[in-house]
Amino acid sequence: MPVSITNSKLIYDGLKACDVRLIAALPETWLVHLIRMADEDRAMTLVRVAREEEAIGIAAGAHLAGVNAALLMQNHGFLAAINPVVSLAFLYKIPLLMLISYRGHVGEKDPWQTQGGLVTEPLLRALNIPTWQLSAAHDVARQLKDAQTLAHASLTPVAVLLTRDLMWEDG
């Protein structure tokens, strides 16, 4: 599977450097290594959810309990979670660090991913969610830290889009 293990490790190490202690996740292809790393890390609480809305609630609970959380989901999972992003995270001023695999964008071969890919950035803009695209391996740790810093300072959700350039190694 050509999902980059090296860059997944960079992202995971970046989350650890942000003192993330709880990860709520729903698996998808690009996230498999990240989720495996969380699963193998005895110091990480990994919560595998059935649907992404749950992950927003779980991360909100962790925040109120004083634990840094991160979310791992596909962009289609983000679409499924928009209501609690609005009516829990924004309404109650809860910071969220959302790592979203950016499927359906340039280079996508799976037709079923493409519609969600087209609407991801317009929706993030419409929701006024600060968004970074992670594409350069050397900058991953800094960008994750900056995203978390803004989330905590503004008490809002922030989105980090994990791009094909970063996650995929075409053989």
């Binding site: 202690r21 709880l22 709520a24 005895r42 110091a43 990480m44 609480t45 919560v47 595998r48 959810v49 059935a50 649907r51 809305e53 749950e54 992950a55 927003i56 609630g57 779980i58 991360a59 909100a60 609970g61 962790a62 925040h63 109120l64 309990a65 004083g66 634990v67 959380a69 209501n83 609690p84 009516s87 829990l88 309404l91 109650y92 001023k93 809860i94």
Partner: protein, 201 residues
């Protein structure tokens, strides 16, 4: 059993625990009994009170968390049962006040009115301890037994679809949020227990 009587009967247990409620009648009835800084009323995001409770329970394993859920809310997020069952935090008590109705929006019957058995769904999802209560004494006993058992439990309590005397709560959402957050931080700092991020399950 009326929701107000059920909550009054267990209020002494709620008073000392971290409580997350759904919106509407449940929140109003609890608020009317007496607000505490350890009570959080999720005034939207229907279905996610149990997910928030799970996030808190996993993050603060030394604290008991009680979620006051409803049939309408739980039906919106049945997946929460399988997620809670997967991690089984022993410090999480999930109470479902089942009035078979979306009471706060005018009393539309939910699927529990036509035969859906939430206790059965919870059992089948793998919740290790599921009990049911139809009277106040049964409910009170179910709650106190559970708090001694320290095992993830769902209690389905059948309650009448009677609206509260008032839905008014003199508490803004953000006031509740920051007060609750600050209270949880004080619990963290006063606790001699191991780090909250310890792995569960």
């Amino acid at each position: 059993m009326k929701t107000s009587d059920a909550l009054r009967a267990i209020y002494p247990e709620l008073e000392r625990r971290i409580v997350v409620t759904i919106m509407g009648a449940t929140a109003s009835e609890l608020y009317a009994l007496g607000h505490r800084p350890n009570f959080f009323y999720l005034e939207h995001a229907m279905g996610l009170a149990s997910s928030m409770g799970l996030g808190i329970a996993l993050s603060m394993p030394e604290q008991q968390v009680i979620v006051l859920d409803g049939d309408g809310s739980l039906l919106m997020n049945l997946g929460t049962l399988s997620t809670m069952a997967r991690y089984k935090p022993g410090n999480l008590l999930h109470i479902v006040l089942d009035n078979e109705s979306l009471l706060s929006v005018g009393g539309f019957p939910t699927a529990t009115a036509t035969g859906t058995d939430l206790a059965g769904v919870a059992r089948a999802a793998g919740i290790p301890r599921v009990t049911e209560a139809r009277t106040v004494p049964e409910f009170q006993k179910a709650v106190s037994d559970t708090l001694r058992a320290r095992m993830l439990t769902t209690i389905v309590a059948k309650v009448e679809a009677v609206p509260p005397a008032s839905y008014y709560m003199d508490l803004t959402l953000l006031e509740n949020r920051f007060q609750f957050w600050r209270h949880l931080q004080s619990l963290r700092h006063s606790s001699p227990s191991p780090p909250a991020a310890e792995r569960v399950g």
